[in-house]
């Protein structure tokens, strides 16, 4: 907790510059594509050009037969399977190379090997595949129709999983429909997106003869999980596999997966006994892997005349794509919708039915914020509608319905345990920071350029670092448990930290070192952090779910505390004092009369053992321990986003005029890094709100194959985001810190959509989909004009 933290200029709460910057800012990072191994060869994949069909023939060029591999060559390789234990879940088998049928554009059919990627692509271009095409399942609504084509024939339908929270509440909702003074309904859609980290995927595999071990370098968030999955697919024991994830240029969920490419490349490295490499290019990323965010909501909210929320009723669909990805499965997202849709609000009744729908699209992956971004958009849209119906400012409706500070901790309607915080205060601060009154005044005056002004806000909480009790219920292949960390002193007093989580931009080499520095007093340049290598770090489910600074950070803290106790024992002996009188101050053990530095204690332990007592603590200066929060139901960071926009009714363009985020991430380890996380996340949220969209043709062809067509926000699209922090300590974590890595990406679509609709309200128009492209805005205005024309009696 904060009050136990002593000041340390490099410890918890210090905005120190990142240790990683030294190499990253000089272009000296060591990413997978930087690896140069002797004899390394490249592969290129022959990928399906169609979305759905049966392979009837594969024609290989005669002169390259030995360098082309299809599924029949991969004897003993098992398909990727990621089942959920939730009742009714239907299993998919994703063969690493197509097995008779292809179910998405970009599905891999053959692997071509050559000394260079260009030559491998030459070979790939000579492989011809014949198909019996069948109709593609492209739209998740149509996928549920009785006469739809089937992605997996033996299922009988296209539903991975259906869930129903509050299925027995029919009579309650019948009554609400009759009696509730305010009833609002929205039908909302969010586009399919392609996560776009700066570094794509990629891997290099080789067989290490000395270790008798497959070594796979891969850009992965969860190297230990990849190892487990890879060993299962290849029929190896895990000791025969080492996964190393070097520097990773952005994860966001895109790299939280066992890839079919990894299995193929690993198999080929074992077969050829040569290093094999595959580096994803941007076209592969866009056309084969647009894999997130596509939701559909039909949400109804009931409120009393004062805008107090009575109930939420929702039917939601998630387009889960063709297969269930390992380890998160095809249903995590939709099932999460059902459990988190109520957001930070109180209500009497809640019902939500969800479908995880299989389509001929890339398998869904949990993108930063996972379902929260869509869910926040859905609930915050109806909260604004309630405000309009009640004649209240939108913020006022939030204040009336949010869980109040004095109610914390609070178990909400879906049994989420909100740990701490003052949600209404974040809204009040946001209203003040954006200066709502000034914008309202400006909104009423006519803008000389014809633009319309709108103000919108969103408030949400983000469950992070949730553990066993939450995940075992999903029954997916990976359930997080106690998080390990290892710390070790060298004889000259350097602390080596080893953790099984990974860093792909989060700056954990710095923040984990800050935590160690807080406990042991060491300067950051005497602390090294090793991540991303199954050969040297303890087993962990890795970095996802905003968990690393909570779980690994706390584990490092606890390991350092254990180490500190051992050092104090040695110091007491050296100082000839009772243990009780020796205290740790700075980086030394201080007794009544004398003190001894950490470095000296390390030197004594390793190199001058003759100075140690006979009954010395035998455990040494290396500690491996595991951490679990006092409650593993997760930390709940929360935020309020407020945005002012202008909408140009002539060309449909939206400009973000001001953007404020009030964020509470508990105790901040490094506020500067948190700001970076929040801003980076918000940039992605702005992409979701206004730009990013992978469209598909009716036959399942992705319509963007370059970044000229798939529009990402750039520096010119991101306003100067103003962040204010609240720091309510988490009650159950080691230092009061909360997970906050995904938060920034959650709030923007809801806040921006609300602001745009606020701006459009004077025109009688409303947008109900993301992204809000100029086309969507103009279409909404046009529809409202048509509606007005119809209303006028002839």
């Amino acid at each position: 907790m904060t009050n136990t933290l002593t000041m340390n200029q490099q410890g918890i709460g210090a905005s120190v510059q990142r240790k990683e910057d030294e190499r990253f800012l000089k272009g000296q990072g060591q990413f997978v594509a930087n690896l140069r191994l002797h004899g390394m060869q490249d592969v290129a994949f022959v990928r399906s050009p169609i979305a759905h069909g049966f392979i009837t023939h594969i024609e290989k060029p005669e002169n390259h037969l030995q360098n082309i591999f299809t599924l029949e060559d991969l004897t003993g390789v098992k398909p990727i399977v990621a089942n959920s234990g939730l009742p009714g879940f239907k299993s998919s088998e994703q063969y690493v190379l197509a097995n008779k049928k292809v179910r998405q554009v970009g599905e891999m059919i053959a692997m071509c090997l050559a000394p260079t990627r260009a030559q491998a692509e030459d070979i790939a271009s000579q492989v011809f595949v014949d198909f019996d095409e069948i109709p593609a399942v492209v739209d998740m609504r149509q996928a549920r129709a009785k006469d739809s084509a089937l992605v997996h024939e033996h299922w009988g339908d296209n539903i991975f999983l259906e869930t129903y929270v509050g299925a027995d509440l029919g009579p309650v909702f019948d009554k609400l429909r009759q009696n509730a003074p305010i009833q609002v309904n929205r039908k909302l859609r969010t586009a399919r997106q392609s996560m776009a980290p700066m570094e794509g995927r990629g891997c290099v595999a080789y067989w290490d003869k000395r270790e008798a071990q497959l070594v796979l370098y891969t850009a992965a968030q969860m190297p230990h999980i990849n190892r487990t999955g890879l060993a299962q697919c290849l029929g190896l024991n895990e000791g025969q596999v080492r996964v190393i994830s070097p520097d990773v240029g952005g994860g966001f969920g895109y790299k939280g997966i066992l890839l079919a490419e990894e299995v193929c490349v690993a198999w080929l490295a074992m077969r050829t006994k040569q290093p094999i490499r595959w580096i994803e290019d941007r076209r592969e990323q866009l056309t084969a892997n647009a894999n997130c965010r596509e939701h559909d909501y039909d949400i109804t909210a009931y409120a009393d005349a004062d805008g107090r929320l009575l109930a939420i009723d929702c039917e939601a669909m998630v387009d889960s794509g063709a297969y269930s990805s390992y380890p998160f499965s095809a249903c995590l997202e939709a099932a999460q919708v059902g459990s988190i849709l109520p957001g930070p609000y109180k209500m009497d009744h809640y019902r939500c039915r969800t479908w995880s729908v299989a389509t001929n699209k890339p398998p869904i992956l949990p993108y930063r914020g996972v379902a929260r971004t869509g869910v926040c958009y859905a609930i915050e849209s109806v909260m604004d509608d309630i405000a309009r119906m009640a004649g209240l400012e939108p913020y006022e409706v939030r204040l009336r319905n949010l869980v109040q500070a004095h109610e914390m901790p609070y178990d909400n309607i879906t049994k989420k345990h909100f740990d701490s915080g003052d949600y209404p205060e974040s809204v009040r601060r946001a209203v003040k920071a954006i200066d709502l009154d000034a914008w309202r005044a400006r909104q009423l005056s006519i803008q000389p350029d014809g633009k319309k002004i709108g103000i919108g806000l969103s408030v949400f909480c983000e469950q992070g670092a949730h553990g066993t009790s939450v995940y075992h219920g999903w029954g997916i292949p990976m359930v997080p448990g106690r998080e390990p960390a290892g710390v070790k002193l060298t004889p000259d007093g350097v602390l080596e930290i080893r953790v099984g989580v990974h860093s792909h931009g989060q700056g954990m080499e710095t923040t984990l070192a800050q935590i160690a520095s807080q406990v042991l007093g060491l300067p950051l340049d005497s602390i090294r952090v090793t991540l991303g290598d199954t050969g040297t770090t303890p087993y962990s489910t890795g970095t996802w779910g905003s968990r690393s600074i909570v779980m690994a950070g706390s584990a490092v803290g606890q390991a350092c505390k254990i180490l500190r106790t051992r050092l104090l024992k040695i110091a007491a002996w050296i100082l000839k004092e009772e243990l009780e009188t020796v205290q740790w101050k700075g980086q030394a053990a201080v007794g009544k009369n004398a003190s001894v530095e950490l470095k000296e204690l390390a030197t004594i332990w390793y190199l001058k053992p003759q100075l140690l007592p006979a009954d010395v603590d035998t455990q040494g200066l290396e500690v491996i321990t595991t951490y679990q929060a006092q409650r593993d139901t997760g930390t709940f960071s929360y935020a309020c986003h407020a945005v002012a926009v202008s909408v140009d009714p002539a060309d449909g363009k939206i400009e973000l005029l001001d953007y404020v985020i009030i964020e509470d991430g508990g105790v901040l380890i490094n506020p500067m890094i948190v700001d970076g996380q929040v801003i980076g996340g918000a940039a992605q949220g702005i992409g979701t709100a206004l730009y990013e969209e992978m469209r598909y043709s009716q036959d399942g062809q992705p319509l963007a194959s370059t970044l000229a067509d798939y529009m990402l926000p750039g520096a010119t699209e991101i306003p100067a985001i103003r962040i204010e922090h609240m720091e309510t300590p988490a009650p159950y974590t080691e230092f009061g810190q909360k997970g906050i890595g995904e938060s920034g990406a959650i709030g923007p679509p809801a806040a921006i959509a609300n602001a745009v609709n606020d701006a459009l309200s004077s025109l009688g128009a409303r947008v109900d989909e993301l992204p809000i492209s100029p086309f969507v805005v103009l279409e909404a205005i046009k529809q409202s004009e048509l509606k007005k024309m119809k209303v006028i009696p002839s």
Binding site: E121, R283, E284, A650, T706, M711, P713, S773, L778
Partner: protein
């Protein structure tokens, strides 16, 4: 996404370049900045057997100022124009339009001639050159010839350049000191290709009153007697003349594209009253 194999040449004279191009029998491609051809080759949408790098050719890198016009070499980059390193016959308009092309990294390499030969209707020079009544100077095995910029673009990604010809330079008439010109494009975000482009040029001493509608599915529509059209647009309302112009550009009324082009025309007309005369 790596290019198929090709032979690379970097000739030092225009004559040699033309010979190499002729020898390739249609399978060779001149390479200037490579900002479009490079990605197309990497995606194997273009698979030339040979590339003839024309950036070492002196004729293509020169700028010549005459009394009435300025001739700019085809391998002059957007960045050179943006930075004012070549004389601007349109009183600063070229410079500002150049600054709005893609991103600086693209402008550093991309060339005036390369963009014109690539003939993407949503690009900038392909639209601005006819508006300014420029002339394309072309060289081929049969010698040199000139092509009026108005006739340059034949269709999307197709120019009037013959297979064995190279665009050497672009001759642009100097505007009179009191000429009015405007250029407006609608883009989703800075640096993207245009969704709707419009421009006007009123140069009374030279008896010129041009209008241009670009970023359609085909060549830009060029109107040489646009006085009444401009008058209509300056009233702030699109009327029958605007509608006729948009329809002549192949735009269907009541479509998104039509609407955006209408807005671009209105805004370009309004910009005629400003000093700078262009915006995006």
């Amino acid at each position: 996404m790596k290019s198929a194999n090709f032979i690379f040449n970097k000739p030092e004279t225009l004559e040699l370049a033309i010979n190499l191009l002729a020898e390739s029998q249609g399978m060779g491609k001149p390479l200037a900045g490579g900002q479009s051809l490079g990605p197309m080759m990497n995606m194997r949408l273009a698979q030339p057997e040979s590339l003839i790098d024309i950036t070492a050719l002196a004729e293509l890198a020169q700028t010549e100022e005459a009394e009435r016009d300025i001739t700019i070499g085809a391998s002059i980059t957007h960045a050179q124009i943006e930075d004012g390193l070549v004389a601007d016959p349109a009183g600063g308009l070229l410079r500002r339009v150049a600054a709005g092309i893609a991103y600086r990294a693209v402008r550093n390499k991309g060339t005036l001639g390369g963009s014109l030969v690539h003939a993407d209707p949503a690009a900038d020079w392909i639209n601005l050159m006819p508006l300014l009544n420029a002339t394309m100077l072309v060289a081929g095995p049969q010698g040199k010839r000139e092509i009026d910029a108005v006739n340059w673009m034949i269709g999307t990604f197709t120019s009037a350049l013959e297979e064995n010809e190279i665009l050497v330079a672009i001759r642009i008439p100097k505007l009179s000191s009191d000429a009015r010109r405007s250029y407006y494009k609608i883009v989703r975000k800075p640096g993207e290709f245009s969704e709707a482009t419009a421009g006007f040029l009123i140069d009374a001493p030279r008896n010129i009153c041009n209008a241009l509608i670009g970023a359609t599915d085909g060549p830009p529509v060029y109107l040489s007697e646009a006085k009444e059209l401009i008058g209509e647009l300056k009233s702030g309302q699109a009327g029958s003349l605007t509608s006729a112009a948009l329809i002549s550009a192949g735009l269907e009324p009541d479509t998104h594209a039509y609407r955006l082009h209408e807005v671009a025309m209105l805004r370009a007309a309004a910009l005629l009253d400003t000093k700078e005369g262009e915006m995006q």
